[in-house]
Amino acid sequence: MTELAVRLSGVTKSFGSHTAVSDFDLDIPRGAIVGLLGPNGSGKTTMIRMIMAILLPDRGTVELFGGFPDFARRSRVGYLPEERGVYEKMKVLEQLVFLGELRGLTRQMARSRAGHWLERLGLAEWSGKKVQELSKGMQQKVQFIGTVLHDPDMLILDEPFSGLDPINQDVLEAIVREERERGKTILFSTHLMEQAERLCERVCLISRSRKVLDGDLKKLKRQERSGAVAVEFEGDDRWLMRLGIRDIERVDDAHHLPVVDQAQYDAILAAAMQAGVALRRFEVLEPSLREIFVRHAGEQAEEPPMAAMGGGR
């Protein structure tokens, strides 16, 4: 029994002249909750589709639960595609029961679970309505239920939160966390850094079809801690100049000082004491995920033209 839920090694996928995923390695341990982060068009969806064997890589191997993502392995995954796929003319409950039965639940079980989930996501009164009568956000919730209904070992969610209002985002986040507590492996993609920061233990940053960074979020932050210090005080700031630190930045009431080693922290503190200013704040700054990303990938001003994405979406 392998400990990995997903392993990509040297995976490359092109559509015509456009390379969507390039020489990609990624390991996702079982039970982890991993965020796949990157701007639109960076290759997140292509990667997920390769994990689900909807696309086959041009080069490299994709393993799911220790082997080729064949039918048996895929059926252990609850998959929420980016472009929502629902039978629009089916009634909500019937649709969920259909999906549940298809994944091996009995009719009664599928019905009762679907009922429970609809209740929980506030859709109970819509269960007899056709899906096309629901708003986009509601349709998305219905599809999310379809993803978790059969209690799969792993959830793969492509942009699960996009298009939802903040309240529903919170509801969904809570459910994702809960599923994680229950021991499920969760992989989701998002372009919202803040969300990933709240939810993930591990992140994988993608930019222009390549992996920028991946690993444990806390460790990453510690690693990436450039050592900046924010200092806020009342009084004269001439003592700061005397420290001999260059590139001091003024951010609101605070000064941000780039710091290289421990000795410098001590020097700053000592200098502040000596100068006799009233120190309000002294904080070692952790970089946000966004900062880490920007630091490593550079600003992604330019997005690939849609035409190049044609085959990949």
Binding site: P81, R84, G85, Y87, Q143, G146
Partner: protein, 419 residues
């Protein structure tokens, strides 16, 4: 198997529950039956006018008999004394006391010419009935004085051509009836087969295309193999088709069972019994069912493959063209040879499995080909079905997850090879 059943059930229920299905399946036949029934009813009512007819017989020899014949058709008829002036009768017609009246005179006896006087000209049916009554009666009168009455009667009734096959033991008296029945059944059957294959085939195509376009298939495919999905879909649409055809056939049978005797009862003189013998027998219908099922699956698989390789409606319209041709060509060829065998080589063309339903079924029921050819066509179709399903399954498997441009023929071949 359970998954196939689940897909089938969804496909079936989702189709059968739509308004379109209910409308096309139930409302149309009901409406048609209703309209036929209503017009028949109204027609009969009109014929059965409350108002009386009258008859003046100046010959004094056939009036009684003609009146009784006309009464036997269900009309009220008064035999008027010939001393009554016609003006008086005209007046009664104008006052709507009489519908109209017949005037028979010597010319009626010698040439069968007689008059009907009324406000409106008689309907075609009424005209035929009157003529029949008068001519028959006059004829009887003349024949009764003739020695060779039986011979003349027989000749008047019309001659009869008896077909005698030089091949041994082709069914004696019923042979001609069987021949016509064969042609009629074959024609109707070929049309029905053509229609079901093209109609339900396109349902399959649309179903596949819709699922692909709204990406449901990407979700579903993680829980069910493409092959099972396709099978369930084809079976589901097929069941829907069976239901629809069943309802149509059922209402047709009801019409035949109750409608024909009903109409026959209204017009005892007409020979509807003769019509019934041209209806197909159980054996023909069973054969039709076999061709229908094999043909449906054969084309449903192809239509599913076409649906899977397209991404847009317009694409699908173009891509299905060869399939439609595969159905239209045999249908046209069949039309040219409907009166029988046609060219002998066509019998061999009819063995081509995709042409067989439309071309071999009519030949089979018309007895135009030996039984072994029919059997061979069924075997070929079964083999073709296995091959088609295999190829279509592979195209389907790759196609449903592909987006964008329709594949070229070369790419298709690669799909089939690598799937």
């Amino acid at each position: 198997m359970r998954q196939v059943w689940i897909v089938l059930r969804r496909e079936y229920l989702e189709r059968v529950k739509t308004k379109g299905f209910i409308l096309s399946t139930i409302a149309i036949p009901v409406l048609m039956l209703g309209m036929i029934g209503l017009s028949a009813f109204l027609g009969i009512q009109a014929e059965r006018s409350e108002r009386e007819l009258a008859l003046v017989d100046y010959t004094g020899r056939i009036g009684e008999e003609v009146a009784s014949r006309v009464r036997s058709y269900g009309y009220e008829m008064e035999l008027v004394d010939r001393v009554v002036a016609l003006d008086e009768l005209d007046q009664r017609v104008l006052e709507d006391e009489l519908e109209g009246y017949l005037v028979l005179d010597d010319l009626t006896l010698s040439e069968g010419v007689f008059a009907y006087r009324g406000k409106d000209s008689p309907s075609a049916l009424r005209r035929a009935l009157f003529e029949n009554a008068v001519v028959e009666t006059a004829l009887e009168l003349h024949l009764s004085t003739m020695e060779s009455a039986g011979t003349v009667r027989a000749l008047i009734e019309g001659g009869q051509l008896d077909y005698e096959s030089v091949v041994e033991s082709t069914g004696g008296e019923g042979a001609e009836v069987a021949r016509i029945r064969g042609i009629a059944t074959g024609f109707a059957g070929a049309f029905l087969l053509y229609l079901t294959m093209i109609l339900y085939g396109q349902y399959v195509l649309r179903s596949v295309l819709d699922e692909k376009r709204n990406r449901v298939v990407e979700v579903v495919i993680s829980s069910v193999t493409p092959w099972r999905l396709m099978l369930g879909k084809v079976l589901g649409v097929g069941s829907m088709g069976l239901t629809q055809v069943g309802i149509w056939a059922g209402s047709g049978a009801v019409l035949a069972l109750f409608g024909i005797p009903f109409i026959a009862a209204q017009f005892p003189s007409t020979e509807l019994g003769g019509f019934l013998q041209y209806l197909p027998g159980a054996g023909d219908i069973a054969l039709l069912a076999v061709y229908c099922l094999l043909g449906y699956f054969l084309f449903a698989a192809l239509f599913a493959a076409v649906g899977a390789m397209c991404s847009t409606e317009e694409d699908a319209q173009q891509a299905q063209f060869p399939l439609v041709m595969l159905l239209v060509v045999p249908f046209i060829m069949q039309m040219t040879t409907i009166e029988g065998g046609g060219f002998a080589w066509m019998d061999w063309v009819a063995l081509f499995p995709y042409f067989s339903p439309v071309m071999m079924f009519p030949r089979a029921v018309a007895g135009a080909v030996p039984w072994w050819m029919v059997a061979l066509s069924l075997v070929f179709m079964a083999l073709a079905l296995v091959g088609t399903a295999w190829v279509a399954g592979r195209i389907y498997r790759v196609g449903i997850l592909m987006q964008g441009k329709r594949p070229t023929l070369r790419e298709l071949v690669r799909w089939v090879r690598t799937a």
